[in-house]
């Protein structure tokens, strides 16, 4: 065997072993661990690690009520545990702390405050809502698990209240997210809030707390309204 032949063989073997290493490397990652390609809201394609995959490009789906006794039981269970997200958007949030204290004590009605949207099913929009806050409200609302309920507190959420002519606060909330219960007043007292919770419970028990489904059904309309006033839309369209 000449020296040249030996060189050729050596290089061949090297290439083979490299290919082997490459293929074996590929074998170590499971198919579900591979990076997922997603189109970001600005149009660029980004890769997402499945371990940190909070990115959804799927629209919300309607969940048909089961109907019958099962649905009645579920509605009873839902109405008795209303977990409110601790997110105060405006001046109305000052009415929520008294509810937690012994004087008004909303725990006796099964209403509780939770720190994250993933653990809560009711969202109190407390008072005026600026466009900047609306952006955060939409993101938060979409991250809450369904079924979810919205309580709009104060006259600002109904028709703008005393900020009806402001350049930065929205006039009516139900154009952007579906509202279950309105509580009128400026400010409503904690008693009014308790009454609002009672009303919400009644609605859920009657099977009328289906606003999350309404949001899914009219999703495009709601998104169009939201995008009309949020001019720098720099977040994903669907994020839950």
């Amino acid at each position: 065997m000449s020296e040249l032949d030996l060189n050729d063989k050596m290089s061949e073997m090297l290439a083979k072993s490299e290919a082997n290493v490459k293929s074996s490397k590929k074998n170590f990652t499971r198919p579900e661990d591979e990076l997922r390609e997603v189109v970001a809201p600005d149009g660029s394609i980004i890769k997402i690690n499945p371990l940190y995959d909070y990115f959804s490009d799927e629209k919300p789906k309607e969940e048909k009520p089961r109907g019958g006794v099962v649905e009645k039981f579920l509605n009873w269970a839902r109405s008795e545990s209303i977990w409110v997200l601790g997110f105060g958007t405006g001046c109305g949030s000052i009415e929520i702390p008294p509810l937690v204290t012994p004087r008004f004590d909303m725990f006796r009605y099964g209403v509780e405050m939770r720190p994250t949207p993933r653990q809560s099913n009711a969202f109190i929009i407390s008072g005026y809502l600026s466009v900047k806050t609306l952006k955060r409200v939409i993101r938060t609302y979409e991250q809450m698990p369904s079924p979810k309920y919205i309580i709009a507190l104060g006259s600002c959420t109904i028709n703008g209240g005393m900020y009806y002519d402001s350049y930065s606060t929205i006039n009516r909330l139900d154009k952007y997210i579906p509202v279950d219960v309105y509580i009128a007043g400026c400010m409503p007292r904690p008693e009014a809030l308790l009454h609002g919770f009672a009303k919400l419970k009644q609605l859920i028990k009657e099977g009328k707390g289906e606003k999350a489904n309404e949001y899914a059904r009219n999703f495009d309309e709601y998104k169009a309204n939201q995008k009309k006033i949020i001019k720098d839309w720099n977040m994903p369209d669907y994020n839950w």
Partner: protein, 186 residues
């Protein structure tokens, strides 16, 4: 204070000097000399504290007025330096090198009134509203009601009641109405 202002007016061309109180004076200085005067007051006269910086829209005169309100902890007195800018092209020399708090004031004024401060840090970023695309909203020719009607889906049927009147009618409907109240009703 009077002596101090006389001393200052020998250095700079002061106009519209107003002695508001014993320890508060306002004076207008031209746009070119204003930052120099503010620096002089800070470094040599002990006006080390910037109380605030604000902007006024004098739409009738076609001018913006900037105000640098300075305080001297030693002299225990305040001086307000006014600067008038042309309303058509409002550009002012930045004072961000004098106090760090000026960064924020200038960012605020840029967003609220559209007065530009070239070179000031982060002056072009959003401050209060995000993605604003109309004329700056604190200018007096910006109609905020019209903008809200156009943008935010007004509900309509908006009614306003005089609280005293409404409660009188609601609580005492049978009480005889006085002549003054009848006049008010009309």
């Amino acid at each position: 204070m009077k002596q101090f202002i006389e001393k200052l007016s020998s250095k700079y061309d002061l106009q519209e000097v107003v002695y508001q109180r014993d320890n508060l004076v306002f004076a207008a200085i031209s746009k070119e000399n204003a930052i120099e005067a503010v620096t002089y007051l800070r470094d040599y006269e002990g006006f080390t504290h910037l109380v605030m910086m604000s902007c006024v829209d004098w739409i009738e005169d076609g001018k913006f007025q900037l105000l640098y309100l300075l305080n001297s902890p030693e002299k225990k007195c305040d001086i307000g330096i006014k600067v008038y800018l042309d309303r058509e092209n409002p550009v002012m020399v930045s004072a961000h090198h004098l106090w760090k708090s000026v960064w924020t004031y200038q960012r605020e004024i840029k967003e609220f009134y559209g007065v530009d401060f070239p070179g000031s840090p982060r002056v072009d970023e959003n401050f209060v509203v995000e993605g604003w695309d109309d004329i700056p909203f604190m200018r007096r020719d910006f109609d905020t009601h019209e903008y809200a009607e156009k943008t935010y889906f007004p509900r309509g049927n908006r009614k306003t009641n005089d609280p005293a009147e409404y409660m009188r009618k609601k609580l005492y409907p049978n009480q005889p109405v006085t002549a003054k109240q009848r006049k008010d009703d009309k």
